[in-house]
Each structure stands twice: as structure tokens, then as C-alpha cells.
Amino acid sequence: MSEILKLSDFSVSFDTPRGDLHAVRGVDLSIAKGESIGIVGESGSGKTVLSRATMGLMPSTATCTGTVEFKGAVISNLSRAEVRKNWGTGMAMVFQDPMTSLNPVRRIGSQLMEALIVRLGMSKDQARARSVELLERVRIPDPYAAMKKYPGELSGGMRQRIVIAIAIACTPELLFADEPTTALDVTVQAQVLELLAELRQEFNMAMILVTHDLGVVAGQTDRVIVMYAGQIVEAASTTDLFRNMKMPYTEALMKSIPRMDQSSGQRLRVITGRLPDPTTPEPGCSFAPRCEYATDKCRTEKPPLVTTQTGHQYRCFFPIGGSL
């Protein structure tokens, strides 16, 4: 399988009034064509920054180091005008909140047609016809009517379908979906995830699905990356991860998934404590203050990222089930 995206020692920091904020630290990651990977982690662990910075969608206060290769070419040192050529056609993004990611004062039709006209050079009529097809494809009932509507006239689920239609309009090879269902109703969530999976197959698109919910990742991805405090702390194929979890952090995340079979009165278990302050890195393992297995070693020494023979990676001195 050939690679579509490769990150090497990729870091992102922000220049803030409180000093440098290290949002992403030394990430190595590669994704094959058509592959689907999940990035999981708590709020603030750097998932959004990682995906946006990979695309190049960062404000000027951000500094990125390391390299990003897209389809074999380094894109991390390109000017904005150059990187932009990949946006929409090479990589595209679906955002978390469909209530805010569509322009409230422009009709759905014009927002969809825009990229087709500007990026693919279609005529207005071609773009309109293609937009209707796209809306049909994401199962918007009565696409002709929807074209004339403003985002405010549609429900959250419908809007997210439209955002997806916009993202796939120029048939990108890599789709970032940053918590695409977090803001939606539970029933709609499943439909949107299913739609994404179908589209991925149909267009042979690679997908990076960002979520804080391990449950979402389970059915949708080939591989899972777990992030904590800007670092990859565990990476494995999805089946391997769920069968043979190594990181105490992943285990804690796992326990915080709401389960259908739990009696309704039972409280959801959340991980106690908070993420470390990203402006002042911990001397040892960044999870140590919250880890139930932490020892003195954990608090003073940084655990390296270990790779097993099966390709399972983890960053822990005392992995669950022993180190093997």
C-alpha cells in the first residue's frame, strides 16, 4: 500500500502571552491510500491542532516543525498559496459544529457550487447539476429546494450532510473529519458516520476521524491513534487496540465510554484530574499525575514510544498486560 500522508517528528506550538504552548509534540504518523484512522483523546489533547496543522490551516501565531508529506511530496515548507492548491481537491475537512461551519448569509447552493466553479473550473450550470447530485448523494431530501435555502433553515444533521457534501465536492483523497458527530443527536450521529463510511469506500478516500469517543472509532476505522497532551501515547490496528490495550490512559478512556447495558442510574466514569498545562511540560510521563499505576520512575523519566513486533505502539513503562 502506498502512503498518502506521512508526518515525521511533527510539532506545533503557539506563541501565547503565557509562553510557548506545545499543542502537538513530535508526532510520527503515516496513512495509506484509502485507509481510515481514528485519533482519540480528551478535549485539549491536540487532535484538532494536529489535523488542522497537517492541512496547513493554522493561524500566524502557530509554529510548525517537522515534515508533512502528502502523496510523496513535502508540503510543510510550502507557501500558503502553494499548499492551498491541495485544499478541497487533495485534502478536505469536515468540522465539528455544523451550526457554525456554514456561512449563515449565503445559500446552500452557492456555498456548494463555489468550489466546483473556482477549483474545478465548472460552468455555473455544470456546478449546479453536480451540486444537486452531491446533495442527493448525502441524502438530502428535495435537493433542489435545499439549494435555495439558508443554513438557518436546516437541522443540524442536514447541515452536517451539506458540510460533508462540500468537503467531498472536489473528490479529495484524504478527508479530515474533526468530531463530525459530536454536535448531533445520537440517532443522527449513526447516520452521519454510516454516510462517511459509504463515501470513503465509494471514492476510495483515506479518512482521519477525530473524536474523543473510543466507541465511535471502533466501528469506523482500520487503525487508532490515542493522543495525550499533544503526543501519540498509543497506536495500533483497531482490533488490536480493543483486544490488547497497553496504555493506562487508553484504558481510562475506555472506561469512560457510556455503555448500553449499564443501568441508567450508574454514573459515567470519567478520568479524574486534568490535562497537564501545555505551556509547562511535565518532567516525566505526562499522564503520571492521573495514572493509577504511576511510580517514581514515571514522575521523573519520560517513557519512550515503544513498538512491538505486531506494530502496536505505546508510551508507557508499565503497559497493561506486561511489555511484549
Binding site: L57, T100, R119, I166
Partner: protein, 316 residues
């Protein structure tokens, strides 16, 4: 059905504001010191004086005097001057200059402020941005008449490339008309340019942080296209609201500036009428000034609805 209803509501609002404003003025005018009848004819007999007071409605209570003026207005009688003559012909010549002044000023202010605001927002924090905001801030802290006098003196008198004062209607030549309008319009435009630029800049910087801008970016659109199509449009609502709000200040400013630049508009006439205690004329002028204000506001309200679909339902 719904449209007709909202129009009706709008119309009754306008009528109410007009009635309220003119009634208030009718009370205020009566508070002006000095007995008009004495002012006009100090040697008049008691009977003559009484008849004049009766004609002006001064012997009636506030309500009945107001009603007298109002019912005459509806019959097309816009009042008369105590010193002779009807108000209507004066009104006909005074309205166009004032409206032109206000209209040109808004256009100039918007055409200058929109590109300035957009560029300042896009280049926020750069030298251009800082220079624009300091300059506009300093200029807008000088009062209107000050700017008017300075411009008229320097450009009109010293340099002499433009006439320092005066007015010509469009019918006497477009070029002359506009040459005379340049300085007063410039004077009046400085305050709104500064307000609009600052507002648009802040609004656009806010809008640039919105998710929909990021989505537009991620489609691979150019910065220019995003600024103009995705950011300016939603920010325009605020700009237009501000344009509506600034109307009051602008009308007030125009009235003063007319006097400095010797423009025979409503301001000049109003000042004259106040000085002469021309009750009926003052009241009629004020009614028309209020009408301008309300009309401009309604037009802008309507335009906001066209530009921004979010406000349509709210406004209905």
C-alpha cells in the same frame, strides 16, 4: 398576508414617531422666551395682537394648537411666516440641498470605509492598520464645524482649487453642483468614515475567526474571495445598522455645516426660523427632518433584510 401585516405595523410606527416628534416640538417652541406678537409689532393694538395670537394658535392649549397645525398640514397647508409668505415654497427649495448633502455623505463614507475596514482587518496589526486607525481617530475627534472651517479656509480660500462656500442646484450644471458639494460632504463624511471603518474592522476580525471561514479556506478559495464573499457580507449587517444609527448625527451635522458653507438647505432655514420665532415654520421643518430620519432608517432596515437572511424572521 404576513408581508401586508408587517408593512402595516411599520407604517403605524412611522406615523407614531412623526406625531410624537412634532408634538414634542410644538410644546418646546412655546417655551421660547418672548411674546411673538410683541416682537412683530411693538406698536400694535391689543386687538391686533389678539388676532395674531389667535391665528398662530397661541391662545389655545397645547393639544388644540397642535391639532390646528396638523389638520392644516393634511390639507396641504404647510403654514405661513409671521413676517409674510408661505412655508411651502421655501421648503421646496430647502429640501433638495439637505437631502443631497446627506445622501452624498453616506455614499462617500461607505465607499471609503468599506475598503479601509476590509484591508485593516485583513492586515490587522500591520503598519497600514495602525496608521489608518490613528489617523481616523485623530480626525474624528475634531468637531464637524472645525473641520468645515479648516477645509473651507485652506482648500477653498488659500489653495483655491474648490469654491469655499455656496450652493448650485443640479439644474445649473452638474460640475458646478459637485464642485460646491465636495468640501461640505468631505467635512461631514469624516466622522462616519471613522465609525464605519472601526466597526467593520472589528466585525470582520471577529468573522475571520468563524468556522465558516475555515471551511471556506479548506475549500481552497483565495483570501480575496473569502474576504469579499464570506466575511464582508455577514459583517455588512452591523455596518448598515450603524449607518442607520448615524443618520441622526448626520442630519444634525448637515444642518450645522449648511450654515458654514452657506447652503440654503433645511439647516439654514431652520436657524433662520428659530431666530425669528417662526412657530409654524419650525414645526413643519422639524416634521420633515423627522420624516427624513425615519425614511432613511426604514430603507436601511429593508436592505439589511435583503443582505442578511438571519434578520428576516426577527424583523417581520
Amino acid at each position: 398576508m404576513k408581508k401586508a401585516q408587517s408593512l402595516l405595523i411599520r407604517f403605524s410606527q412611522v406615523a407614531l414617531v412623526l406625531l410624537g416628534a412634532t408634538f414634542l416640538v410644538s410644546i418646546l417652541i412655546r417655551q421660547l422666551p418672548g411674546d411673538v406678537s410683541l416682537l412683530i409689532n411693538p406698536v400694535a393694538s391689543e386687538a391686533e395682537r389678539a388676532s395674531l395670537r389667535h391665528e398662530l394658535g397661541l391662545d389655545r392649549n397645547y393639544f388644540s394648537a397642535y391639532w390646528m397645525w396638523l389638520s392644516r398640514m393634511f390639507q396641504g397647508d404647510f403654514g405661513f411666516f409671521i413676517f409674510g409668505g408661505k412655508v411651502l415654497p421655501v421648503l421646496k427649495t430647502a429640501i433638495p440641498p439637505t437631502l443631497q448633502l446627506i445622501f452624498y455623505t453616506q455614499i462617500v463614507a461607505l465607499t471609503v470605509a468599506v475598503p479601509l475596514g476590509v484591508t485593516s482587518a485583513y492586515k490587522q496589526g500591520t503598519r497600514f492598520d495602525r496608521f489608518t486607525s490613528t489617523t481616523l481617530f485623530s480626525l474624528s475627534s475634531i468637531p464637524n464645524f472645525g473641520i468645515g472651517l479648516i477645509l473651507s479656509l485652506i482648500i477653498g480660500v488659500k489653495i483655491g482649487i474648490l469654491p469655499p462656500s455656496g450652493y448650485k442646484p443640479i439644474s445649473e450644471g452638474l460640475l458646478d453642483h459637485f464642485r460646491l458639494m465636495v468640501l461640505p460632504v468631505l467635512t461631514l463624511a469624516i466622522a462616519p468614515i471613522s465609525t464605519y471603518t472601526r466597526l467593520l474592522r472589528a466585525e470582520m476580525i471577529g468573522a475571520l475567526r468563524e468556522d465558516y471561514v475555515l471551511l471556506a479556506l479548506s475549500k481552497g478559495l483565495s483570501d480575496r474571495r473569502i474576504l469579499l464573499r464570506h466575511v464582508l457580507r455577514p459583517s455588512c449587517t452591523t455596518l448598515m445598522t450603524s449607518a442607520a444609527l448615524s443618520m441622526g448625527g448626520l442630519i444634525g451635522g448637515a444642518l450645522v455645516i449648511e450654515i458654514i458653507f452657506v447652503i440654503p438647505g433645511m439647516g439654514t432655514q431652520l436657524a433662520k426660523a428659530i431666530g425669528m420665532r417662526e412657530f409654524l415654520a419650525i414645526q413643519t421643518y422639524v416634521a420633515f427632518i423627522a420624516l427624513f430620519y425615519i425614511t432613511f432608517n426604514s430603507i436601511i432596515d429593508f436592505l439589511i433584510g435583503v443582505v442578511d437572511p438571519r434578520t428576516r424572521n426577527r424583523r417581520a
